[in-house]
Symmetry: C2
Subunit: 643 residues, 2 copies
């Protein structure tokens, strides 16, 4: 069959494709990441590329101006090569490379000894362990089977009620025992109630046993390599979830995965991502794949379903039923994850279609499930997940916040990666804007925390009113128009990386207000369901990669977080990753998630709560229609009023 | 590549073989069973065939006379076709077809309700069960995951601490639940401490759940199909173990299996046999393979190792170490057994290299492990396995008896199948011999029980003395010579199926005496090790297919069984098969074998027992050098004396 070559710049990566394939399909095949929020439907306009040579056919669309088309700009998902082509993927269309934060995150986390080990809440008992055995050689007086000889020694060391060894290891066992002169290292993995012999090696390899904790995020996949003997985190890697090419948010991916084949495509994406991360970790730390015996993943329900290849269709159909909340521990190879050939894969259990293992892990990390005091925990993402409770009870809910916190659906929005404005402060009369840019240099756009800062600053300066509309007399020269839209110029083109203005529109602010309103109202509704209000809350935990940059004071000012004393707030960072790591190192921690946290979290479906919609409408102000809910904001900003 | 066609008569089965292959290899490929005791080494002379047309090259050998060669007789394992050939396999070289006894055995066994069910020692709780669930459809108020909805209902019905569902079923679960309109049948199999969901079907299929109990014998493979709902045995099939082509006894098979490839060949043989039997059972009973969810096998240690493909090399090397005595429950498909694709395979645990799961099953069936009285149990086969004990203790040993009981190594020996003399009684002065022939008609040879009868009768008549040598003045005309050997004509050629005399030689009698001596001495040695003697024994259980025809009185007379009152003896038939069936129907019965019988059987290696050899020598008389051990025989036969 005839094929066309598609070469991507600046990487100069090439790939052969069949006629009828789009440029975005070629990019996926070539491993070149391109933004696509709509999943290839041609309705988001984010996948702009520039055709440098070769002929293409493109579907008409509304995103490209005549000038764009003359310059060779095309939407990658709507454009079909007619021959060999060379395509440039500009910075703004690019899903960033490895986020810079992985290694820093690893260092930033409080040491694992705070959670696991002597004196800590959870006992050190890794899900996989290696024991070096010096066995007595078989004699006529002691000629039990090879398997029993190994079991006898293991059970002499500790209580292991149910042990199992697979056929392939039993087949090798006699040879290995004798090759090692009765000195072997046995790797044992916990699998449900059974301890499985995962590997037998001649000699002493007990110092080489690793696990990988993975946060499978909708946007980012984060992996830490953990030395299961010492509990130390020895490496960290992260990358974007390459499912993004098939849809930016959960719903668009679920809609994409409407056949077994497409479901498998998404599974393969995230499995490849995890394999890439693990490969990176082994190179970084000079570790052998065969010494990695366990992978523990946490993520939202859709992400873990896709990882395991489980049907996701019912997650988005009322009444929102996942296939499985408690996935079995399986062999990692069953889904294609490449570690030790018989290494195991566990998944932190989830609670409901929109309350995932990430939230369960967050709860574990926060410790709220072990406290007498009532806490609330907010995991902010495209889907906001909220849990309230204490050691007696746990209640949770979720609300769709839209992609604003992750930079989606915002004119100059972007993810929290290189070039993103993560915080901003205006000088007097908005004449100066002091921006903090991730990675330094000129900014490319606004990430979620930058957006929170920006809206809070606009409100503080009086540039917007409490409905989020611009106040032209205050905004002054910064206010412009693009078509029918008012736009506030945050950074003029002269100061940006792309030479274009970084702006925020009234529509952007409205999107953002809907996002923050959904989170706040969901938290409030959850408390109402449990007969409490915010004044009963002693601790507010904020989780999510997003939380790393969050200014609590400003988040309160715009009505995202409740108006409580600042010392009640605590960031727990990437609780999903940390919880997965705790599970790897402590069977007890995994058990607590499986047997105490996940099964005992009562989920309230807010879509069935008539009051939620009313209250949500009231939250679409800054900070809220009812300013009495934010007394500190009222005191601070007496001059803001509804027009 | 050039191939030759080999056609076997009378079946007219043909097969194409490469040059350099032997006729016995062709027969194996064609599925034509040919005797081969030596495993193809050309040293047993049992694989005689007649070349009816075509050219062959044969290795010289000592078994064929000039006349044989002129008639076209050849040893199948030493003969290579040089072109297309037609070969007849005579009756005497044929491994019989399906033994006729399978169905009769099934009927003859005491009803399973004697062991399993209400009022019986073991509770009815099959290793695999089907539950028909009418689930409440998911609603917004009850939207737990599909898996939990199923688990919740199952756990409402009974206590299932650890449940697991494999990925492939989880992937189908949502579709199946909705296809069945929330009414599904769940098949659950016990696997270690875990209950595994093996299958989910829409609608109510709970009346169709079957298990297969298999006795994997060195010689015969017996299978019963069990309705796991009703506990009824609904079908029975048996066939010869086709590993026989690679060696008649355990040791020759172990020696054959000295590479991974050859080990795999033997595994494939027995797996094919089991698949053939299961296919036969499904046809016989109109059952679907997918409704068979569990297979339970019992056999000696070597047989179960070969079934699982475990290394057998160390079984025959001092200090006689098996790979595994407690095999894990696995998916039957892992070894190639064809039932439900996710159906399970269990193996009754063994004790030592020569004390197998067959003996463990025998103990369960006998109930001796649950009695206050001391019993002894003898499983007679090529390898004699003996266990003594009560509810407090169990001790066991094994002794190689040689193939005499199974008709091997005896001039006119054959297995207990059609044409075998199973019992015999001489008239006054040996003038008449009344033979019971299996299947009726003219006899072909002598099986084990016929041999016991014959030797006992020869002794009673005074035709042989207590050393087993002929007394010519008593034998009279029945005594002849073949070469240097004295032979006693049991049935003259005129009365046999092949037209040749059925004879017994002094060498045959010597082989037989060694076999019975080994069994008796082993039992005695075992008791000595436990500080007991036969007078302490309240029950003697005799197991093995062989036991079906055994005349206890005669077995005592020749010193095979101890001289105890006849009412202490009990035949338990094929305990291996019955024990496997009990395990299928009662998890408790399986648990008792795994946790109480097998691990608590102390094995005595007689090869390290210096006294055993001495006593064995003393047993090489009829009934024994020390006649005081057999007082009833002494009273009955005062006229027998050592010459």
């Amino acid at each position: 069959m005839k094929t066309f070559s598609v070469t991507f710049l600046p990487e100069e990566k090439s790939v052969e494709i069949a006629p009828g394939k789009t440029i975005i399909e070629a990019a996926t095949a070539a491993g070149v990441p391109i933004n696509s929020i709509c999943g290839g439907d041609g309705v988001c306009g984010k996948c702009r590329v520039i055709v440098r040579s070769g002929k293409v056919t493109a579907e008409p669309n509304e995103f490209l101006t005549r000038r764009d088309i003359q310059r060779g700009v095309a939407l990658a998902c709507q454009t079909y090569p007619d021959g060999d082509v060379v395509v440039e993927v500009p910075l703004e269309s690019r899903i960033g490379a490895v986020p810079r934060l992985a290694a820093e995150d690893a260092a930033r986390f409080a040491p694992i000894s705070q959670w696991v080990g002597e004196g800590a809440p959870y006992a050190y008992e890794p899900l996989s362990r290696k024991d070096y055995l010096q066995l007595p050689p078989a004699t006529l007086d002691d000629n039990i089977s090879d398997q029993e000889r190994i079991y006898r020694e293991l059970r002499r060391r500790r209580d292991i009620p149910i042990m199992q060894t697979g056929l392939s290891i039993l087949r090798q066992m006699p040879g290995l025992l004798r090759a090692g002169n009765w000195r072997v290292t046995v790797t044992m993995g916990q699998r449900g109630g059974t301890v499985e012999v995962v590997q037998i090696e001649p000699g002493d390899t007990s110092s080489r046993n690793y696990g990988v904790a993975v946060d499978v995020g909708t946007t980012t996949v984060d992996a830490h390599l953990v030395d299961l003997g010492s509990s130390e985190t020895v490496g960290a890697q992260a990358k974007y979830n390459s499912q993004i090419s098939y849809g930016e948010d959960i719903i668009s991916r679920i809609m994409y995965a409407n056949t077994d084949e497409k479901l498998n495509t998404l599974r393969q994406c995230v499995v490849n991502d995890i394999n890439d991360l693990i490969a990176g970790l082994t190179v970084e730390t000079k570790t052998r794949l065969q010494d990695i015996s366990y992978v523990m993943c946490a993520g939202n329900t859709t992400m873990t379903h896709l990882l395991l290849g489980l049907d996701v269709a019912n997650i988005r159909r009322e009444p929102y039923v996942p296939s499985a909340s408690f996935a079995p521990v399986i062999r990692a190879a069953e889904v294609g994850i490449k570690i030790n050939a018989r290494g195991l894969l566990g998944v932190v259990p989830s609670v409901a279609s929109y309350v995932g293992g990430d939230l369960v892990a967050d709860v574990l990390v926060s410790g709220m499930n072990d406290s007498d005091e009532v806490s609330i925990l907010v995991d902010m993402g495209t889907n906001g997940e909220i849990v309230a409770g204490n050691r007696e009870w746990l209640a949770c809910c979720s609300a769709s916040a839209g992609p604003a916190f992750e930079g989606g659906g915002i004119t100059c929005g972007m993810r929290a990666t290189h070039g993103a404005i993560e915080h901003i402060a205006f000088g007097e009369r908005c004449q100066t804007a002091e921006c903090g840019v991730i990675g330094g240099g000129k900014p490319l756009g606004l990430c979620g925390s930058g957006l929170i800062d920006l809206v809070a600053e606009l409100l503080r300066m009086g540039c917007i009113d409490r409905t989020g509309r611009f106040v032209p007399e205050v905004c002054g020269a910064r206010l412009g128009r693009d078509g029918g839209q008012s736009e506030f110029v945050v950074v003029p083109g002269s100061g940006t990386a792309l030479g274009r203005d970084i702006v925020i529109s009234e529509a952007d602010i409205a999107s953002f207000i809907r996002a923050k309103g959904a989170i706040y109202t969901a938290a409030e509704a959850l408390l109402r369901h449990t007969g409490l209000d915010f004044t009963d809350i002693r601790h507010v935990y904020v989780a999510g990669g997003f939380g790393n940059y969050l200014d609590v004071r400003k988040a309160i000012r715009i009505g995202l977080l409740p108006d409580l004393p600042l010392d009640r707030f605590q960031f727990i960072g990437n609780g999903s990753l940390q919880g997965a790591k705790m599970a790897l190192l402590s069977r007890q921690a995994f058990d607590v998630m499986e047997k105490r946290i996940a099964p005992n979290m009562t989920n309230f479906e807010l879509s069935t709560d008539p009051q939620f919609m009313n209250e949500y409408t009231g939250s679409l102000f800054l900070p809220h229609t009812n300013i009495e809910k934010f007394p500190s904001v009222e005191r601070e900003q007496p001059r803001i009023a509804v027009r």
